[in-house]
Symmetry: C2
Subunit: 205 residues, 2 copies
């Protein structure tokens, strides 16, 4: 596996017959047409099954979206957390690792990352809460690293929370423009983006 090879699937083949096919079809449909623009019939067609069979797997269209967003945000949180917890001597190193992991998810699962930020507004109730919580926890990882770096004198940015929010905003936006055939490979993009993040924090050279 190299820099340009496909990433592991976000939606792994499941024990239940068509579950992963339905989730992937829903991801494509929501990504192309938005939650309200995509119909259950579109999703059924994409999953090569019947409309009514969708309801043997998910009780409603909203729950289908919720399941997608749960998986996406949980995976992004897990990746970022793992990177942030790795051995590192400085806050700058931890930040670089966290940014690379975050960007790695966005590039590996671009459609999922895009749907996660643009369709979350159509979730409500408990489903929304869980997804928002995962997102906030991911955000908190960056805030904590930045705050640590400021305490240690590595970063001189005055408002760690604001700076961290700008970093995640920059990195999430990658899902809106990245093209695999572009100038930068996944690894190069992640590297470059971590440089912007450190620069934004006014890291001491």
């Amino acid at each position: 596996m190299n820099d340009r090879s496909p990433a592991p699937e976000l939606i792994a083949p499941s024990t239940r017959g068509n579950e992963s096919a339905i989730l992937n079809a829903a991801l494509d449909a929501f990504g192309e047409q938005g939650f309200n623009g995509a119909s259950m019939r579109d999703i059924a067609r994409g999953a090569r099954t019947s409309l009514s069979n969708l309801y043997n797997y998910f009780p409603s269209k909203s729950e289908l979206l919720a399941e997608l967003l749960r998986r996406a945000n949980d995976e992004q949180l897990a990746r970022t957390r793992h990177a942030a917890n790795a051995e590192a001597t400085t806050a700058a190193e931890r930040l670089r690792a966290a940014v690379k992991a975050y960007v790695g998810f966005v590039v590996d699962h671009q459609v999922a990352a895009l749907v996660a930020i643009s369709e979350i507004r159509y979730l409500a109730g408990k489903n929304r809460e869980h997804v928002v919580e995962a997102r906030d926890q991911t955000q908190a990882i960056f805030e904590e690293i930045v705050a640590d770096g400021v305490s240690a004198g590595e970063f001189t940015t005055p408002y760690p929370g604001d700076a961290a929010r700008n970093i995640t905003a920059m990195c999430s936006a990658i899902s809106t423009w990245y093209r695999p055939e572009g100038r930068l490979s996944k690894t190069q993009l992640a590297e470059e983006q971590s440089r912007y993040a450190l620069a934004l924090l006014e890291a001491r050279p």
Copy 2:
């Protein structure tokens, strides 16, 4: 008028009876429910007129969205361009002015800024082209300032285009979280954001 007072309306009262009321109702509806989630009946209700009367002003729902996005992007471009063209001795000063203008638009017309980035995907054909062109021109202003600053040795960032894209991404994302009652006033936020932009460019101190 101070820092917390309301901004001039993006949709000014027009000569045609209900045009501005319809546009404002459409802006609210699209902002709250998205293009496909909002119905023409919702918009008519918001504008306190009848469903069929909407079609005396706009030939279709798509054209209504297009008109909104045209106005929003044109206004943001005009503000940014004006700021970038102002007298300034350094690229850093021009960048600060441009960021403040851009952020100023986002805060003054938060819903319009949010709709402009999240609903542009539902435009097609000529309508889409015009809006994309205005957006690209705004982007180009930042790219040019950054490139100038790099040439002059003010900024040391290696890829002006990428850096500029990160700057506009950060500033556009403000529309997704800003609350007027928050810690920062409009002017303070614009100031702070321009500092992040300069830091990101690795401006010489």
